[in-house]
């Protein structure tokens, strides 16, 4: 990404510290031990702790509420069935998150990544414009995110929010690191272009692919 404009977002000034994933909820060893014993009360506690982060991640990756709910339920069921495989060296939330991500990527297989064709138009849209991220509302940002193609939205979310590296994304998608880098850059630019459109008038038809 090579945008010349430096933006300022008053509510949260830019720093080099990556934000924590909403998944990063510490779970006590005792609770995990109870879950490994298939304690339903412990499982319910885990469910209540993580139901929103799991559903949110599923929704961001898949873009469809019904599919996201189904994936969330499948993921929790897998947690209960496979918790014996969880090793305590890594945080529990990271293990749970990987279950959700892997299941979502399985469902995304076969969908097409963003292609090069519209890049010139996107570049012209964002060129010499103030960074729309600085002034966009959360509502507009979410709508722009929803308008991205599924693969691009998933890559952007994993990279910018969940803190995946390009290497991890490449492995997850069974693609190259270059694929990850180009998808992240294109999707980020497209997101800004969509927000620029938003500053004019939003027209869903212009955002379809």
């Amino acid at each position: 990404m090579d945008l010349a404009i430096t933006s300022a977002w008053p509510e949260a000034p830019a720093t080099s510290t990556p934000p924590r994933s909403s998944f990063a909820i510490e779970v006590s060893d005792l609770l995990v031990a109870r879950l490994k014993r298939r304690d339903l009360e412990a499982f319910e506690q885990i469910y209540r702790l993580f139901d929103r982060p799991v559903y949110t991640l599923a929704l961001r990756l898949l873009g469809n509420p019904t599919e996201a709910y189904d994936l969330s339920q499948d993921s929790f069921l897998k947690v209960f069935e496979q918790v014996a495989q969880f090793r305590d060296e890594a945080p529990f939330w990271g293990w749970l998150r990987s279950i959700v991500v892997n299941a979502a990527l399985m469902r995304l297989r076969g969908r097409r990544p963003m292609e090069d064709l519209d890049m010139a138009a996107i570049d012209s849209l964002i060129e010499n414009s103030p960074d729309p991220l600085a002034s966009a509302s959360s509502h507009d940002l979410k709508r722009a995110l929803d308008s991205l193609p599924a693969i691009s939205r998933a890559v952007v979310w994993l990279y910018y929010v969940e803190g995946y590296t390009h290497e991890e994304i490449a492995r997850s998608f069974d693609r190259t690191v270059s694929f990850s880098k180009s998808q992240v850059a294109r999707a980020a630019n497209k997101l800004r272009a969509l927000l620029n459109e938003e500053n004019g008038s939003w027209n869903p038809r212009t955002t379809s692919y």
Partner: protein, 168 residues
């Protein structure tokens, strides 16, 4: 992620509010668990399945020993007071099992499998609780019986049981 633009995008996306799943998710999940517990699983014939099957037979024998050695089930109670007693007994047993487990955090594979077998039955019973507004006496009695089995399974020294079974 080093450029200020990347950091800004990361912060803005991360600040988006969490989404809420449809209500009733936990009840749905319990229903799925019940279905999953009933669904027969298929697998390719593998030597591991034979040893697993042998283990299951052993567990069934062990459970049978436990069940027959338990005190006889009292005659069915019919009053609300009896249900209250069963509810209380169920709570007491859960508390006792939690206490026992707190003292034995590590379990061997055989005991884990034994406990899991009983808990699997318990999951089915609990799913029936979730599906009814007024669980009857039979359901409470089934739950108490399974919790009693689970308590025994939590305490049992599986090694000596099987050794004794072999000697007999």
């Amino acid at each position: 992620m080093e450029s200020p633009d990347d950091v800004l995008l990361s912060q803005r996306l991360s600040a988006l509010p969490l989404e809420s799943p449809p209500i009733g998710g936990w009840a749905d999940l319990r229903a799925r668990m019940q279905l999953a517990a009933r669904k027969p699983t298929r697998g390719a014939l593998n030597p591991r399945w034979f040893s697993l099957a042998a283990g299951v037979v052993g567990l069934a024998l062990l459970l049978n020993v436990l069940r027959t050695s338990s005190p006889p089930t009292p005659a069915p109670a019919k009053s609300t007071a009896d249900i209250s007693a069963l509810v209380q007994r169920s709570q007491d047993l859960e508390s006792e099992i939690r206490g026992l487990r707190a003292h034995t955090p590590d379990v061997d594979e055989m005991r884990y499998a034994l406990e899991s077998a009983v808990e699997s039955d318990l999951t089915v019973v609990d799913a029936q609780f979730a599906a009814t507004d007024a669980p009857g006496e039979d359901l409470w009695r089934a739950r108490v019986r399974l919790l009693e089995e689970l308590k025994v399974a939590t305490q049992i020294d599986t090694g000596s049981v099987f050794l004794q079974a072999r000697l007999d």
